[in-house]
């Protein structure tokens, strides 16, 4: 399969890229920073996902080179804010909207065009349980993730006739560079874990397991879902 993953330079994105490479898939990745994955089946582009024309060009070149995109995993996001809403600067809020919402929107739009054409595809977006736990200090981040959830749920309906499924994986507290940064600033790792139903850190392997489930041919009727890891609905 040809699997396109955004945000592959670190954290969950990098893990998923390496995980699917081990499973002998072709992985196409991107990140703001340079390539860190050296593998013959890995193809990296340094890219700012909030730049519409760059995303269009990139997906266009992927379409031409690989002829197909079987799976899209929208993972890239910024998690740098750890401020109460009252203290959050406007430019920080705008950068969140650009990367976490506009960036996801552009990639969804361009990749879904190809999937509609090929009449099949699997789309997964990585969100967060903070959309359900309403954790203090995550107002802007959680708002952007709510937007992602909604983009996916609506896209799921719009493309269902083309055999494309769209789902969200919303993990609880994970050990990634981004979440550790956030946890350090807020000192709320413990507090966040207490809000989870399963009160422990969620492993990247667990996300990969759900991703495997969603991209399985047997999951062709599962769409528009938000699958929480560590939290009861």
């Amino acid at each position: 399969m040809v699997i396109l993953i955004t945000g592959t330079s670190k954290g969950l994105g990098r893990y998923l890229a390496e995980y699917y490479l081990k499973k002998t898939h072709t992985v196409i990745g991107c990140s703001l920073s340079a390539n860190v994955i050296m593998h013959p089946s890995y193809h990296h582009t340094q890219l700012d996902l909030s730049n519409e024309s760059n995303v269009r060009s990139w997906v266009n070149s992927v379409r031409k080179k690989f002829q197909t995109i079987d799976v899209l995993i929208c993972n890239a996001a910024i998690v740098s804010s750890a401020l109460f809403l009252t203290l959050t600067p406007g430019n920080l809020m705008e950068s969140f909207l650009k990367t976490n919402v506009a960036g996801v929107f552009y990639i969804l739009r361009e990749v879904s065009k190809q999937m509609i054409k090929q009449k099949r595809g699997r789309i997964i977006a990585i969100s967060s349980i903070t959309t359900a736990t309403h954790q203090e200090g995550t107002s802007v981040y959680s708002a952007t993730k709510c937007a992602v959830n909604e983009l996916i749920k609506i896209l799921a309906k719009e493309v269902s006739s083309s055999n494309i499924t769209c789902n969200v994986i919303a993990p609880g507290m994970m050990k990634t560079n981004a979440s550790e940064e956030l946890a350090k600033k807020l000192e709320w790792e413990k507090e966040m874990l207490q809000k989870q139903t399963i009160q422990r850190v969620i492993l990247k392997e667990e996300v990969a397991h759900v991703s495997d489930f969603l991209i399985s041919p047997r999951s062709s009727s599962i769409t528009g879902q938000v699958i929480y890891l560590g939290l009861s609905n």
């Binding site: 269009r56 060009s57 266009n60 065009k113 190809q114 509609i116 054409k117 719009e158 493309v159 006739s161 083309s162």
Partner: protein, 97 residues
Amino acid sequence: MNNNEAYELIDGVVKNLVASDAINTIDGFDEQTIVLGNGSVLDSISFITFITDIEDKLQEVTGKELYLVLNEINNFNVDNPNLTVGGLATYLATLSK
């Protein structure tokens, strides 16, 4: 690309889509044929494939990456929510310059 060439490009894309069973045969295809809006010969999903193929063909013909932006098309707006082949051809001709 002039309007006639743009029309030919659209016509070619439609023929390819029909040949590949992506869309049904369009009877009486001409500049007045509506491709988006009330009375469109294409459903929403077919329209996306149609636009994607037009963008690919445009790139092939002009050697440039050109993308259609629906709200930039003259004569296609809230007062006139029907996009015709002729309107699209005019837009493509302008876009390719």
